[in-house]
Symmetry: C2
DNA sequence: GGGATAGTGCCACTCAGTGGCATTCGACGT
DNA sequence: ACGTCGAATGCCACTGAGTGGCACTATCCC
């Protein structure tokens, strides 16, 4: 996931830079001025890009705000696609997650924190971000299910849903302490939260 | 949840009728012509209502499509607000759900099925519908947490998330068999899916 | 150099959603 | 019956997200 591939064709380098500048500027503007108060026209003005070009880089206004989420999930899916998941499935999925977290760019966790704080404040972003989880869930069920055909469909789906539930709880905890401890802390919270799962199944009111 | 309150002031009766007509017509149009292919202007034309009035009844285009979801969750929250949840929490939440399902209007399950089929086809609806679950989750954590203050915050949140995960899996199963068996079948699927949870936690790849 | 082409800018358009204000119509007292 | 009050509605103009189409520019490759 390193960037700066100086040896890429100039065209792609330019395109990547535009993409990057757009998402970073957007994140800054959304945080400073608020999501609704920032129009895409303003963003495009600042980045000196036409609105048409914006929509060739991102599918929607929500998309550009959630670029950090998107980065994580696509890296995760790529990793799960290659790794051999053996043993308890939920545990394997969690390990893959922590591996992926460790391999994100150094700057990623700052962007991710800002993104999470944004999407807790803006319902539209929250919904859209849940949509990402949903898509990822679907892809994972297909990937994992395709490899282990003997696995019960319902059980598999439940497992993946539980995985997402635990992840969301863990990242919420991390966000609510303002990302303190960086990704090491996030990784630890993921472990702790997953460890809580059996107790959550049986806890009493 | 019975309707036809003939003894309501005429004004409110009219308003309720408009609300109802809008959501039913919308569901029909969305199903027949497709969600994106149907504009709110067309809907308002048919129902003979101004677009302004539409937005006084529903917050968005997605909202009117997901009226059946909204009905379920608000009924559920109302019930959970009054019921005494004792014993294993997850089990109590599931029982409350089945009770609520049993108390919905006779017509509800048809609307709900159409809604679910729609929102599987339209990403925007999927995301918005997940948003509902999210809001309900939050409300439940507050309600239940407020009543049993000694309960661990993280554990509570996890429990509620698992509840939602199981519900979504169950309703997906019901939808994928086109709602066969009506709400009795749905209730049974809920029970079966919740029963699968412990196995899903430990299943192997 | 020179032709193919990916990527961009510009313009006009649709449609979701909002604000403001005039109008209508049911509620209610006399 | 009549008039008044106020909630709900209709109407109009507006913002902003997102799309289609076409001309244009810059990169790539030979």
């Amino acid at each position: 996931m390193s960037d700066d591939l100086r040896e890429l064709p100039l065209r792609q380098r330019k395109k990547l830079r535009t993409h990057r500048t757009l998402s970073e500027t957007a994140l800054r503007l959304f945080t400073e001025r608020g999501y609704d108060a920032t129009t895409l026209d303003e963003l495009c003005d600042i980045v000196e890009v036409s609105k048409r070009t914006f929509f060739r880089n991102f599918r929607s206004k929500e998309d550009v705000a959630l670029a950090a989420d998107s980065d994580l999930w696509s890296a995760y899916l790529a990793y799960v696609g290659t790794a051999t998941l053996d043993g308890p499935l939920l545990e394997a999925l969690r390990l893959a997650l922590n591996t992926t977290l460790g391999e994100m760019e150094p700057d990623w966790e700052r962007r991710f924190l800002a993104t999470r704080e944004l999407s807790e404040a803006v319902p539209a972003l929250q919904a859209h971000s849940l949509g990402y989880c949903q898509d990822t869930t679907k892809a994972m069920v297909e990937t994992v299910g395709g490899r282990a055909g003997d696995l019960d469909e319902v059980r598999l789906r439940l497992t993946v849903e539980i995985f997402v539930a635990a992840w969301r709880t863990a990242s919420l905890r991390w966000t609510s302490q303002r990302g303190r401890g960086g990704r090491a802390a996030l990784t630890r919270l993921v472990e702790e939260t997953f460890a809580e799962l059996p107790a959550a199944l049986t806890c009493r009111a």
